[in-house]
Structures are given as C-alpha cells and as structure tokens.
Symmetry: C2
Subunit: 158 residues, 2 copies
C-alpha cells in the first residue's frame, strides 16, 4: 500500500526522503530484481547462438558470431548494479530470486567475477572483430561459458 | 508436451526439422516475446536516470549520464529481431504482448523507426562522450524520447 501511495505523496510535495526507508527500499528492490533478471535473460538469448555455433548445433557464421559477441560484451557489465542490499534470497522482499544470500558475504569475489566476465567477453568480441579463426573463438567462448558457470555455481540457486 | 520432449528427441538424433513446424514455431515465439520484453525493460531502466536528470528530478552527473547514454546506445538495436512472424497481438500464441498486429502491415516504417532510434541514441552517447553541455544533451534526450514515443503511439497497445 505504501508503494501504491508513493506517486500520490510525491505529487503532494512529499519527497521520497520523508517516506519510511522501508517503503523506498521495497520499491527499489522490486525494480532491481526485475531489471537484473531481464538483463541476464537478454545475455542468455545473445549467448545462445554463440553456444550453438561452437557446439556445431548450427553452422558457424562469422558475421553473426561477431554481432552476438559484441552484443554480449556490451551487456556484460549491466546486471550487477541491481544486486543491491536487501534484494537477495532470504531478504524480506517476497520476490522469487535465484540470487543466493551468500553474495552479501562475498562481495569482493562477486565483483571480481563480474570484472572477469566483462574482460573475457570483451576479448571474445575483439577476437571476432579481428577475424580470429573459429578454433580460437571456440576456445575463448569456452572461457566465457566457464566464467558464467563459475558465478552460477557459487551464487545462483537453481 | 512437444516442447518438453524436444531435447530428448534431439538427443535421439531427430532434428528439429523432423518435428512439426507448429511446435518449433510455438517455442520460438515464446522465447522471442520474452526476450524482446526483457530487452525493452532493460532499455527503460537505463533510460530512467537520463530522464530524471534532464527533468531535474535528480542532480545532473556527467559521468553517470554518459554511462547510461552509452548503455542505451548499445541496447537500442537489440529488441527488434524478436518481432518475428506470428508473435504479434491477435496471432495464435496465447502470450500477453503489447506489440500490435498492425506492425505486420508496416514493416518498413517499423524498421525505419528502429534505425532512427539507433541513430539518435548513438548521437546522444557521442555527445556525452565529447563533453557536450547539459542543455544540448537535454535537447537530444528530448529527440530520443520522442523517437520512443512515436513507435509506442503507433505500435504499442497500452
């Protein structure tokens, strides 16, 4: 109810700061979870054809590979700003999330893994842009997938 | 049920082409709608702070403005590949979508508007990277928002 009333209260000249921090927190967590799940879904969609190509499930197409690799690289830094305090599993928000509570105790490692993903996807995109051989791209794609998996194994509950 | 069985059938050496085209189509439309809605949600999230800054709802921060503008520019070309045949309103998929059926009759205009969005968000990002004045950025942000709105007015049912 507090969330529903916020626009009305704001229009009456009451700033967010005057509302209880709990209500502001609830609204932000809601949006943050929806956003990061969307961003990760978009990354997965763009990763799909790359995985299919390196596994031989679809024909390798250098142009499409480069396009997807560049998309993935530009997406790789997006989701992380939304893993805000109070938005993990076991936090009091009532929203389904696979983001494990243990992230809160391992922020440095979580950030380090994000930076690795950004670096490895950048490398993949640069290699594709530079016309690298398929075997090299396949090897680098393996590194990218391992990076995804490493974080999922530690911090994603599914 | 067909969708559930597909991985099994595929692992048995039956290619997707051997399955009914209806089942493949259903799977693709499902994924396409989920993907494009996610991509547009991510764009909206990144646009939020830009809009808040040009409207004076939050303080202008040149660094954050440039970051968001670059994010938006790299996202602007993503959603459109997923407006595939059979995925619009009134098509037989049973999924909630705001993508109006009239898009099918106006593909050239729809594509032209996508290209305009890509161009205008690229311009905004470039201006921010080049250190443009806030008034110039605000004006270009108005053009970007008008581009969003133009497409929504014609092709989004909400």
């Amino acid at each position: 109810m507090t969330v529903t009333f916020r626009p009305l209260l704001t229009s009456l000249g009451l700033s967010a700061a005057l509302l209880s921090s709990a209500s502001v927190q609830a609204l932000e967590v809601d949006k943050a979870i929806e956003y990061r799940q969307s961003a990760l879904r978009v990354m997965a969609f763009q990763t799909g054809p790359l995985g299919d190509m390196v596994q031989g499930d679809i024909d390798y197409d250098a142009e499409d590979f480069a396009l997807r690799a560049n998309n993935l690289a530009s997406l790789a830094h997006l989701p992380w700003e939304a893993f805000i305090e109070g938005s993990l599993q076991n936090d009091d928000h009532g929203i389904a999330t696979e983001a494990m509570a243990v992230i809160a105790d391992n922020r440095d490692d979580f950030i380090s893994r994000q930076e690795t993903l950004v670096d490895e996807t950048d490398t993949l995109a640069q290699m594709a842009n530079d016309g690298a051989e398929f075997d090299e791209l396949r090897r680098q794609m393996g590194t990218v997938v391992d990076t995804c998996r490493g974080c999922h194994d530690n911090y994603r509950d599914n």
